[in-house]
Amino acid sequence: MKPSVASLYQAVELQQEIPPLLIGERANSNGSKKFRELLLADDYDSCLKIAQEQEAKGAHIIDLCTAYAGRDEKADLTTMVRMCANALKAPLMIDSTTPECIEACLQLYPGRAIINSINLEDGGVNIRRICKAAKKYGAALVALTIDEKGMAMTGDDKLRIAKAIYSIAVDEFGLRPKDLLFDCLTFTVGSGDASLRDAALQTMEGIRRIKAELPGCLTVLGLSNISFGLAPQARRILNSVFLHEAVVAGLDAAIVDVAKILPLARISDDDRQVSLDLLYNRQVVDEKDPLMRFIEHFSGKKNDTTDKDQEVTRTTEEQLFYKLMNGDRDGLDDILAILRERFKPIDIINQILVPAMRHVGELFGKGEILLPFVLQSAEVMKASVTLLEPFMDKADGGNATKILLATVQGDVHDIGKNLVDIILSNNGYKVFNIGIKVPTETVIEKAREFQVDLIGLSGLLVKSAIVMQESMPQYRQAGLNIPILLGGAALTPKFVAESCVPGYSGPVVYCADAFAGLKSVREFEEGRLVSTSYDATTAVKPMKPGVKDRVLDRSNPVPVPPFIGQRYVEDIDPAVFFPLINTQALFRGRWGYRRGKSGAAEYEALIRDTVQPKYEELMQRAFAEKLLQPKVSYGYFPCHAEGNRLFVLAEGDEHVFAFPRQQEAPFLCIADYFKSAQEGGDVSGFFIVTIGERIGEEINRLYQADAYHEYLMLHGFSVEVTDALAEYWHGVMRWELGIGGNRSDKVRGAITQAYQGSRYGFGYPSCPDLEAQLPLFAFLKPGAIGISLTENMQMVPEQTTSAIVVHHPQAKYFAV
C-alpha cells in the first residue's frame, strides 16, 4: 500500500506520481493576515473559502491552523475542521502544537488526517501524547527537526533529531515509517546573515540523508521561509526554483501558497540561474555575492506581466471549473473576462462549464454531493452564461437540443419541472418552460412553434398521471413522434410502460428526477433513447402497509364539539406552529440534505453548521418580511355513514363524500370510522388551512431571479410550514373535541400519529380521490380566506391543505 491520507471523499497518495504533494498554507492564522483577520471576526465561512480556494488552485492537502493569542484555539480549530471535512475534497493537515486540540480534531475528522506537528523541543513530552493519538486515530505526522537546543541548522543535526523522533514514533509507539513526514526546516537565504548562506544546501542535505538513512519515511518542507525578506515577485521565483531542487534531493511534500508556485518552464533562464546561485551559495570571482546579484537582478523588475499572463494561462480554466464545482460566484466576471481573450464564449460554455456541470451531476449521482450544492453550481453556470451572452453570436448555441417543459393540465406544481429546467438549461440545452396547468393542445402547438426535439411533462398528482396517459393518443394524432419524457411523484416505471408507452408512437420515457431527465436527453443525442419498459416478472411489488385485520369498535363515544358549523380563524401567530415543523422531512426530503455516504458525526456537523442556520434564517425572514399569512376555515358537522359514503349536514344541506374502499383485507374505508344513522349518527370535523399567497410570490420571484438554491430552500420551507399549520390545527380540533390530551404535541407524535384520531387529506393514499374537495369547499367556503380550486381539484395557493378530521380511536393511515 502506498502511503496515503484521506478526506471523507477521497484518498490522496503522499508520494505523488509527479512530486511534490502540495499542501496549501493559506488557511493559517499565523501565516496569513487575511485568514487571521477573518478568524478574529468569527467569519468562519470566509475562512473556509480560503481553504476552498487553495483546493481549486491545485492543493492536494489543506493545512489548517487557528492558533492565535487570545482565541480559543480548540473551539476555532474543531469548528473549522468540521466545516472543512464536509466542504473539502482534499484531506486536512491539522496544524497545532497543542495535543488537546489535535486529539479533539482527530476524533471528529472523518478521514485520515496529517498532524502538523511534533518535535523534541520539550525533551519528549508532547510528542509522546501526540504519537499516541496518531496511532489511535490513524493519522500521519509531520515531525520538525527541533530539539531542546532549538532548530537544527545543519544536515547532520537535522538527521540526528529525525532519528531521535523516529525511535519514539516508530519503536515506542508502533507508528509506521511511512506515517512520518520529516520537515527539515529551512531558513532564509535572503537576509544576508553569513551563518545562513548555506541554509538551502543544509536543508537539501538533510532531506537526502533522511531519505537514505530512514527508509520508508517521507519528507516535507515549509517552502517559503527560504526567501523571507525578499521582494514578493523575487520570492515566487526563488521559492519555485528551490522547490524543484528540493524535490530532486528527495522532497515528497511541500507546504506552499499553491497559487504562487511557478512551473520551472515558465521561469526564464536568467531568473533561474541567479536563483540557483543564491540557493547553492555560488561565489563567483570578481562578482558580488549571490544575494546581492539576486537582489539587483530583480530590483529592476516590477510585477512581470508576461510571467503573470503565463501563470493565468495555466490556471484560469481550472479556476472556472472549480468555481462552478464549489458554487462560488466571487470573481466570476474577472475569470470570464480573462478567458474571453482566448476562447469564444460558446467554447467556454461547452468546454469548461458544461463538463464541470456534468462532473457535478456525476458526483450527485454517486451520492458525493447533495442537491442544494448542485443548485449552487447551477447558479454559477447561469451567472457565467449571463455574463458571456453579450459576447456571443446569435448563431451560437442555435443547434443545441431543444426541450419543451410543461406541468400538465390541472396541476399547479412546478418545483419538479423547474428543477428539470434548471438542470437541463444549465447543461447547455435550450429549454422552453411553458408553465403550469398547460392543456395538451397548447403543448402540441408550442412543440411545433419552437421545433423542439423532446417534450417533458410533469405533474405531482395521481390525477396528473391519468392526464398524461390520456394525452398520449392526442400527441400521436397530432402527428408528433419526438420523445416524451414523463416525471412526477405519482408516476412509476410500470405505469409509464404499461399505460403511456402504448398510446404514442415515439419513445415515452419515465424520469425519476431531473438527472434522469438529463440522462434521457443525452441518450436522445446519442440516438439510443428508448421507451421505458417494465418486466412484471422481475419487478418488485411494494408492500401495502397498514393494519391488516381489525374489527372496528362500534361503541366508541361521540365527542361533543364546542360548536356546530363553520368558522374562520385569521389571527394565528406562526410562532405557535413553528415547533411542529417536521425538520427531518424538510432537511432530508424537501431540501435534499440526505446523509448519503457521510458518517453520523459529519452529517450532524452539516446539519449544525449549514442546514439548521439556514432553517433559522428562513424562520426569521418569514417573520420579518411577513411572508406567512396563516388562515383557517374549519368546522364540526353532524354526519352519518352509509357504506362507503359519509353524509354531512351543513347549514341545512346534506353533502355526500364518497370514499374509496380497500380492494383487499381488511377492506378499510374512511366512512367505516363513522357511525351509521341506525347507530345514532356521528360528528365529523373538517379544516382547510393556508399560509397565504405571499410566500408563493416570493418563491416565484427567486426562481425568476435564477436564485435556484434559495428557491429550493424557500419552497421546501413553505411546504413543511403548511403541514405544520395543518398539524397544529388538527391538534386544536382534537383538543376542542376533548380527545386531544395536551396540546403540546411534538413533531415525533405527529409523525407516528401517537394520538387519538386521524386527519385524512384528499389526494393521499387513504383517499386518493380529489373529488372530495368539492363538498368540503361547499361548506367550509374558503374563498373568503383566498383559497380557490382548479378544475382538477387543486387548491390555490399551493401552500394550502385540507382534511377530514376523524375522532375514532382506531383511525390511522392506510392505503386503498
Partner: protein, 59 residues
Amino acid sequence: MMTVVNSCRYICANCGYIYDPGVGDSMNAIPAGVDFEVLPEEWICPLCYATNDQFDPLD
C-alpha cells in the same frame, strides 16, 4: 445463542418515520429484531409509502 445485531436505525427522508430494528414495523408485519439492511426489497415506509432508498441511516 448470541446474535450479532447491527442495530442501526433508519429515518425516512420524506416524512421522518424512524425504522428501529429493535421495534420492527407492525404496519408491514415486520417483527422486532429485523435489521433494516435485510428488510424485504418491497418494504416501504409504513407512513408515507416512500421506497427504502429514501431512508438514511440515523446512528
